[in-house]
Symmetry: C2
Subunit: 270 residues, 2 copies
């Protein structure tokens, strides 16, 4: 039986407090070991991926469409106005689920049995992380490794932008930025560093080995110089000289990641 | 000499009214034949591309960095608070320019001398249009043709997301959706329709002719069935079967456009 709640300050709803307050959410979600899935489709994918439900918060309209997957989960039903009061904005498609995080697998486990992976260094934007997971999953990348400081794929925005791809592609987080790449190489991976520098090998021309890892850097600065040095080869996406002369000198990180993942997962190698 | 304005309701500032009100802006900009450039870099690119300045609205902080390109343009200087009152939100990097639109060239003129172009059918999201212009320009696409109903590249969000690429890549708008593609074919173009359908030729395997036009459809529905039928060939971006089984069944339109433009502009043809 769902619980009808009318007070936005009800303590049972605190998993959902102020969803747009990034700092609050980061500490709250870490403390409680939860993440928030938003919208019917994403909630279904989170449940299907095996994440336990802590509770669901929904307006009456979205209770029925989700009924078949909620089992005996705790469900709070609120008005649009109470939802706004709790979450701090008008929630898209009116349903939220607070899910338990599961322990991330060690990086070696993510890499086991894979041949094409992506490594993200220090991306700060949750939407970009979600969009890259979506691309990588759609294009057949088999695993993702995050640097210690890379933004969280289970943050609400990441989950939403990924369309749930964060549940379908295995990922892990290095515990050591300094030595992390070496462990990926030890697993048999060739490390390819993506850079805007047009003097290096175009990614389409690289002979992909049996196991290739694509390194993608942060939005502003790209890969750190340490990771650039540690990589086995630097690769670029060829740009138009005319565009570069006109000051259109780079792709955004998601567009670059899409093209690079497409090259990385070519069936024919190169 | 800049004019210091203190009243957000001053009639001289109405070019900048409620910038997030899409409906208001569409009609106001069409009536007055203007568009709004936001931020120093984008304003510089608009001026360099030859768009005449109607006026500039800035906070004191951004007056100096722009001084060298403003010539004798009308400049209104306001406080952060007045800026918020006029524009309706806290303007990023505090400078806006109202620029005069120039007449768009006929489609035949956009196509003259080009060999790789993109045709956008009915995209509705201004950010997506801007992002596709940025990708297309960076990757060496030489021109863009818009369907009659495609979202406006000079809308503020498009301009901003494109980083000014809307000024560097020539584009035009069909006056006739029904007969528009035929005119592109008459100009010697092979029409390639991008579709998620995995049964068609992968875009990397297509023999690009001398002149190839890539057709991209709207965010929700993709290309219309009429355009799909009219195209010379349908092409797809190969997806991971595992991801499709898990419900991650498509790339977003910008990621797809990035990959497709990269394939379209390969130097080696294929």
């Amino acid at each position: 039986m769902p619980d009808y709640v009318t007070d936005a300050a009800d303590p049972r709803l605190t998993d959902y407090t102020r969803l747009r307050d990034v700092d609050l959410r980061k500490s709250l979600e870490a403390e409680r070991g939860l993440f928030v899935a938003e919208g019917e489709k994403v909630i279904r994918r989170a449940i299907a991926a095996g994440y336990p439900i802590r509770s669901v918060l929904t307006t009456p309209r979205w209770l029925e469409p989700l009924a078949d997957v909620l089992g005996d989960a705790t469900v709070y039903v609120v008005s649009d106005e109470t939802m706004l009061g709790v979450a701090g904005f008008q929630v898209h498609r009116g349903a939220l689920a607070s899910m338990e995080r599961l322990p991330l697998p060690p990086v070696e486990e993510v890499l086991a049995g894979t041949s094409r992976v992506v490594v993200l260094e220090d991306l700060v934007d949750h939407s970009n992380v979600g969009a890259i997971f979506r691309c990588a999953a759609a294009l057949g990348v088999e695993g993702i490794v995050l640097s210690p400081r890379c933004a969280d794929p289970l943050y609400r925005r990441s989950v939403k932008v990924s369309m749930g791809a964060v549940f379908s592609i295995p990922y892990g987080r290095m515990d050591d930025w300094y030595g992390g790449l070496e462990r990926i190489r030890t697993a048999g991976y060739t490390l390819l560093a993506l850079t805007p520098d047009q003097r290096v090998t175009p990614i389409d021309k690289v002979k992909m080995g049996e196991r290739a890892a694509l390194l993608l850097g942060s939005e502003g600065d790209g890969l750190s110089s340490r990771w650039m040095r540690e990589a086995d080869e630097s690769v670029c996406i060829p740009m138009s000289p005319a565009a570069m002369a006109a000051g259109v000198d780079s792709l955004n990180v998601v567009a670059a990641a899409a093209i690079a993942c497409h090259s990385l997962t070519r069936v024919d190698g190169a």
